[in-house]
Amino acid sequence: MSKYLVRRVLQLVVVAFVISVLTFMLVHLLPGDPTTVILGPNDTAANRAILLKQLGLNLPLWHQYTTWLGAVFHGNLGTSYLNHQSVTHILATGAPVDIELIIISQVIAFAVAIPLALVTSRKPNKPLDNVATTSTFGLLALPPFVVAPILVAVFAVGLGWFPATGYTPFNQNPATNIHEMILPSVAITAGSIAVYYRLLRSDLISTLQQDFITMARSKGLSSTRIMWRHAFRPSSFSLLAAAGINIGALIAGTFVVELLFVLPGIGYALVQAVEQRDYLVVQGIALVVAIAYVIIQFVIDFIFTIVDPRVVRE
């Protein structure tokens, strides 16, 4: 067990380190630097040189990297060159937004995919199944930047059921917060619904073919009980696993809804920082997000090794 943990932690460290180096290199590959954004029309050669020195950006790259790394080990992720917010603050205020977005969207995805799969897996390739499969493919073909304006036009402006933009932190007002997060969550949930539905459906179909299901039926167990206790439970593991992969895609993709719905999340902050060459913000966010992603994957795997009796323990 401890060997397992040690190996995982080591993997985490290596991955985090390599990613931080790669991010650093990539973001310095971009032409320009924050001085353009900061100085604006006062961009003279002299001013630029002075500002670069002030910001420590005239030092050789390796030096900048090691300085940054050193600061990180002291818990200091740096601040934005533009608005001087600390990266830690950006992450602390932005993470809850994205976490909530992901959670709500996954809850919606499960709420749609699971019942649908439970119903259609009983009669595969029949009309209902075909309709469901077709619809879920339709969902796949609709990226968030298309779904979002349509949702707003219909449900916010048209029906007035939801706000068009805005974010209230959960601890300030839970009701308003959820109310504001519904449309953005629906906008990013389409792909997830499709994936979970497909996965669960095929899993259930196979499980339902097994002998023990027939045996359960012959014992007079109700269909509902069969579906839930015997078919669904084993399949739920794969669902959880798929969620793990999906989260990676979601983390990468929240910035579109953050932009459109004005949610102060990490995705948008990251994109803006790259645009403005706000190096420290980019590096800090990339590092933390990468670590979070790896940890999530490890946790999911870990849950499996504990919970799933089929997995061989090391």
Partner: protein, 319 residues
Amino acid sequence: MPDDRELLDTRASAQLLGDRFPGMAATEEAIMAVSTEHLDGDDVLARKPLGFLFWFAVVWVAVVFLAAILANVLPLQNPNFQNYSSLNQAPSTAHWLGTDDLGRDLLARVIFGSRVSLVVGFVGVAIGLAIGGTAGLISGYKGGKLDIALNAGSFIILAFPAIVAVIAIVTFWGQSLLHITIILGVGTIPLMFRVIRASSLSFAQRDFVVAAKTMGATDTRIVLREILPNVIPVMVTFSLITVAGIIVIEGTLAFLGLSVNLPTPSWGNLINEGTANNALATDPYIMIWPALAMFLLLWSINLIGDRLRQRFDIREGLL
């Protein structure tokens, strides 16, 4: 419920998912489960005719590909020609699918746009398959240090903030169909690697492979003749899903202005154009046609993949 029945339940599922092996992340298994969907009733299905829907899908895919290839010789209007006196028109005899906000013929734009989407989708996945798939195939079978290294490498790419990479690389390298295809293709490498590795790994422990080894078959022969044929269903299914994914991602790149340069149409940037500048209200056709075309294509190729796999599912070794 008595305990042994619980055990029976889960063991039964275990048969479905194959044996588990240490170090294999559960996530890959989940993907495999989709791909190795293995209906006991399939043998029966395999003998049924493929069905109307299947042929419809085949025809649609053929039409899309042919139109893309022959676009230059087809009697289409110039997709980039702006006609300022016919802006935002609904479908008519002059323009079968209508015009966009700059007066360009939508039928032509959708057909020419399919080129970009098809290339990005299929070539991109081909790149991922060629590099990631091959690596996964070998790595899953051989294991060892190579496997650990490649595994960690794939993890690194997956955990890397994609958007930073795309912005940086596109800004630095420039926006062309080739560059975008390569970037997206490289992005699929770790996914292909993980999935195919998982599949390869599970087959590598099977009896028929062990048997082949004891009989003295070389690694190459084993990989090519025992493992690869069994991995192909997974490859096909997953690749098709990924093609769908990439074609949609190109749209998001267009949203960010990182896709092919204007005025070159692609389904992604057509959809983007159709949602920007309030176009949804003034001319919804700009978005509808490419979205519909994309949806039909994705649905078709996945349906084809599904049905073919059901028919030709290979489960055991060829010994």
